[in-house]
């Protein structure tokens, strides 16, 4: 065990734990427990809003998987990753003030709450949305949890099971007792670590490789395709790379764990500041981490396992204590994703299912018990599943983000801006989106050389518009816009 690397990591985990614990104190002083626990009472300022959006979005794939692929593919993969810059401004501008205003008017705590009021209390819309969120995000969370434990295992040499429990202990306590506020505050620390880690690693890698020019020359000598936008074997076509703008760029609007943050800010000024901070941080982080993956190639030739590129690079080009700080970055990325997913799934169970249909008359005290109870049970069952993840969960995780995007982008965005959109449109959109995404991914992946998510998003749009128009005569009610 390398204590030089471990000490910064332990300090990081301890700080997150203490801050998360401390920020949970205010939770129980608020008058509306559910608003506070699941949404932080809509009090986020600009910096925290930006950081919690980026930290929730930036996950194991931005810090471990992505740089590994960039190592293999070359600069073309950095180009692809830059589609994510759009997430820094697009989500907040598109959902924007309209979403924040409507969510307040509807008194919505979750994304499904918003859909419920917008789509005439349609039970089908609520149940279908809540279950998509619960199933897909539970699977996504398990996969991230496995990633977090593997990372600790790789860095520390602890066994997988021990690593899993260390990781669980660090995350579960503050999520369970602190809810959204503790998550947002710890996301801020995790976001800063992610930013600092990227900066340190990028600079150190350029220096270790003998300067940018030198590294590029060596890359060109090995395989000049690494310097092109087309990938190491020329297989990254412009259409394929561009289609990632849907999956990891503009489509992120439809991810529930991101969208819910767009109704959590305090005022217009917070949102304005978050736009600037978010764009700067996400652009730098995606660029830096992926470029570091490419630049690692001449320094560490012949790595076969892409996921080990980033940890190996940090341990090679940096002194141990700095490597510890850099390796805290992917840990922070994973923690800040799983905490948000856990609370999101919990809110879907508690608010969208339990409070809506099982026990609408639940008292404040009962809600408190159920919220904390459900979050604990979900958290513990994720750990249990992560011990040996069932194939079904692994399979579902593959479809989680694309499936949720295909399902929710249009009911969310057109629900805000198109008054004629109705519950039939929303239902058609959710069903078509999820079913066609899974069908296309399984039976005919990457149709026409585009990522599998593109067609389902288009189908989901067509379904929303057609079903809304065809049923609009039956539907006299339109959203009140005055």
């Amino acid at each position: 065990m390398n204590w030089g690397v471990m000490i910064p990591l332990i300090i990081f985990l301890a700080i997150v734990f203490v801050v998360g614990f401390w920020s949970s104190k205010t939770v129980y002083a608020k008058s509306d427990f559910m608003q506070e626990y699941f949404l932080g009472s809509r009090e986020l300022g600009g910096l925290i809003l930006a950081m919690t959006m980026i930290a929730t979005y930036g996950s194991a794939s931005s810090f471990v998987g992505g740089p590994g692929v960039a190592y293999t593919e070359g600069l073309g993969w950095v180009l692809l990753s830059m589609a994510q810059v759009a997430t820094g401004y697009f989500v907040l501008l598109i959902l924007g003030k309209k979403f924040a205003i409507m969510a307040r008017r509807y008194n919505a705590v979750t994304l499904v709450d918003y859909m419920k009021v917008r789509y005439d209390n349609s039970k089908a819309v609520v149940i279908l949305s809540a279950f998509s969120i619960i199933i897909f995000l539970f699977a996504a969370m398990t996969a991230q949890w496995v990633g977090g434990a593997r990372l600790i295992e790789a860095i520390t040499g602890l066994s997988y099971t021990t690593a899993l429990f260390v990781f669980a202990a660090a995350v579960l306590v503050y999520v369970i007792i602190g809810g959204f506020r503790a998550i947002a505050v710890t996301d801020m620390i995790q976001g800063l670590i992610m930013f600092a880690g990227t900066l340190i690693l990028l600079v150190a890698t350029v220096i270790a490789g003998g300067g940018m020019q030198n590294i590029m020359t060596e890359l060109a000598q090995e395989n000049e395709m690494l310097l092109t936008p087309f990938g190491h074997d020329g297989s990254l076509t412009p259409l394929y790379v561009s289609s990632f703008w849907i999956l990891v760029g503009v489509g992120v609007v439809g991810l529930p764990q991101i969208a819910v943050r767009a109704m959590s800010y305090k005022d217009s000024r917070s949102m304005h500041r978050a736009l600037i901070v978010g764009t700067i941080v996400v652009a730098f982080m995606m660029f830096g981490m992926h470029l570091a993956g490419v630049l690692a190639r001449p320094i560490l030739p012949g790595i076969d396992e892409p996921d080990t590129v980033m940890p190996t690079l940090a341990m090679t080009v940096l002194p141990a204590w700095l490597a510890g700080i850099v390796l805290a970055a992917p840990m922070a990325a994973i923690m800040s994703t799983v905490d948000a997913l856990l609370l999101m799934v919990s809110s879907a169970v508690v608010k969208d299912v339990y409070y809506n249909y099982v026990n609408p008359k639940a008292t404040e005290k009962k809600i408190k018990q159920v919220s904390i109870g459900v979050t604990s049970v979900l958290g513990i069952s994720v750990v249990f599943f992560a011990l040996s993840p069932p194939d079904l969960l692994i399979w579902l995780n593959l479809f989680a983000f694309g499936g949720l995007e295909s399902a929710f982008v249009w009911p969310l965005v057109l629900g805000l801006y198109w008054a004629r959109g109705n519950k039939y449109g929303a239902l058609a959109s959710i069903i078509l989106g999820v079913v066609s995404y899974i069908a296309i991914s399984v039976f005919a992946p990457e149709p026409f050389g585009m990522h599998s998510v593109v067609l389902p998003v288009v189908l989901s749009l067509v379904g929303y518009v057609l079903a809304s128009l065809l049923t609009s005569s039956k539907q006299s009610h339109t959203i009140e816009t005055s």
Binding site: L75, M82, L93, P229, H272, L275, I276, I280, Y417, S482
Partner: protein
């Protein structure tokens, strides 16, 4: 129509416009400059020109555009209901 929604609609269109500019800049420089043979690549700060303009300059461009949009085009509106209940 609530005046705040006019503001919100306009700002959503600004978001679409930003993404369109972002995409065109990113695509144009990457494949415009990067499609020739590698032996003819120009290098800036050690990086291929297509990469430098598309990814590095492109990021700075978007950051500057977002700052301009926030400072000059976005309007501060109250998010809570003014008249009926607050």
């Amino acid at each position: 129509m609530d005046w705040r929604f006019k503001v919100a609609n306009r700002e959503a269109w600004i978001g679409v416009a930003l993404a369109a500019i972002n995409f065109l800049w990113w695509y144009g420089f990457a494949y415009g400059l990067g499609s020739g043979p590698v032996s003819e690549y120009q290098f800036i700060f050690g990086m291929p020109a297509w990469f430098f303009y598309s990814c590095v300059v492109g990021s700075f461009l978007m950051i500057i555009l977002v700052i301009i949009v926030v400072k000059f085009f976005l309007t501060e509106v109250p998010l809570d209901e003014e008249e009926d209940h607050s």
